[in-house]
Amino acid sequence: MSEKIKELKVSAIENGTVIDHIPSNAVFQVIRMLKLDSFDSMVLFATNLESKKYGTKGLIKVSNKFFLPEELNKIALVAPHASIIEIRDFRVSSKKVVEIPAQVTGIVKCFNPNCVTNHEQVTRRFTVVEKEDLRLKCHFCEKITRRSNMEFI
């Protein structure tokens, strides 16, 4: 019985952010992108939850943390339909969706093995040339990295 109560306690957060509608296979990627693996407040996550819209989904709850829009927009690369719910005093204070940014800096690897970013110490930078069918143009070698050959750092 006491076990059960404990479980309820952790699933609701007093203050923080809930990231919902993450594709199940992208949950760990989102955790890395938001650097939650080294975060010191409570972080809860779930994968393979049932979703009416997408079949299954993942979800992350982070207490005592509100993200900047640019941090959240990064995750749009792997979770384009994620919704961001901010909780204050156990209540939903805002709800928004992520948006793919115009520039992607420091999180994606250029697929071109002959690109300078794969040889020198340099921050990788891309311009998003196509949002739907995600295509990123490398600032350096000018080649296009697509979702199918996208690798995250």
Partner: protein, 302 residues
């Protein structure tokens, strides 16, 4: 354009490109000057490209400047594992301008962002070679009297040829009609065609070059490389089908000229060379004037 690096042809606006061509004309009239006598130009060729390197070095020498550098990475600290960052930051101390050729794509953009002196990209892998584009534009301007409203035919490897890609993109500023002749497997990539479509210009695609020649003002020939083909027989067939002979250019327009970025293999027969319509060697010479103009502008001397 003072202190501006040239990495990709798109770094310069149409007006800036035309300004380079205008100044090139000035150097063509008067190629031997002393304006660079107090300047040191670093010529860093991380892979050999004798033609491009000598063209740059000739341009500097004829203006009285000094050249330092290397013609291949083998004899340098790069071989010992020095990063490009360190090489550039060191050599920038010794020079006023760096000309760089490097097989790594994006290396010129990277160098331009860390270097305290301007960088001219003399080719970064398969990516960009903007001074070739400028000398091609200059050659077209000189032979046609204008860059506007021309019929330009490109023949050969249009898929991998970076000189073709850059020149097509640059010509999109001048209401060009494009005639694209290539084997099916070496067609111009859609990323380049996109630029033509954006400007609502017309392009035609062919696999055979003969019907294009009478329509063209400029015939831009390129080399087809054996390594692009998995089937050696297919290579032989195609190589011989894009072989320009003098009898093929007899019934062409008066202003018709044949261009080629060189080196050629057998796509232009040597019997074309004596024709007044063969322009590829003059085209190479134009490279010296264009590079003189570019360096003078970047160093603020024009």
């Amino acid at each position: 354009m003072k202190n501006k690096s040239l990495v990709s042809i798109n770094d310069f606006s149409k007006e800036e490109q035309l300004r380079v061509l205008e100044v090139a004309r000035e150097f063509e009239k008067n190629p031997v000057q002393t304006i660079l006598q107090d300047y040191v130009v670093a010529s860093l060729f991380f892979e050999p490209s004798t033609r491009t390197r000598l063209s740059f070095e000739s341009a500097v020498n004829r203006l009285g400047g000094k050249v330092i550098g290397f013609s291949e990475a083998g004899s340098t600290s790069v071989k010992k594992g020095e990063s490009l960052r360190d090489t550039i930051l060191t050599i920038a101390n010794y020079s006023d301008l760096i000309v760089m050729r490097n097989p790594i794509e994006g290396s010129a953009r990277f160098a331009s962002e860390i270097s305290p002196v301007p960088i001219i990209n003399a080719g970064d892998g398969a990516n960009q070679h903007p001074t070739q584009t400028l000398l091609d534009l200059y050659s077209i301007l000189k032979t046609q009297g204008s860059l506007d409203n021309l019929n330009v035919a490109f023949v050969g490897d249009l898929k991998y040829g970076r000189t073709v890609h850059s020149l097509v993109i640059a010509l999109c500023n001048f209401n060009t009609t494009f005639h694209l002749v290539s084997p099916i497997e070496l067609k111009l990539p859609s990323s380049v065609k996109m630029h033509i479509k954006e400007k609502n210009l017309t392009y035609y695609q062919y696999t055979d070059m003969e019907e294009v020649i009478p329509k063209a003002d400029i015939l831009y020939m390129t080399r087809i490389q054996r390594e692009r083909f998995s089937d050696p027989l297919e290579y032989e067939r195609i190589k011989n089908s894009y072989n320009l002979h003098n009898d093929m250019i007899v019934d062409t327009k008066e202003n018709f000229r044949v261009l080629h970025p060189l080196p050629r293999v057998n796509e232009i027969d040597i019997n074309v060379d004596p024709s007044p319509k063969a322009y590829y060697f003059e085209q190479a010479l134009n490279g010296v004037f264009v590079r003189q103009a570019l360096m003078a502008l970047i160093l603020g001397l024009r």
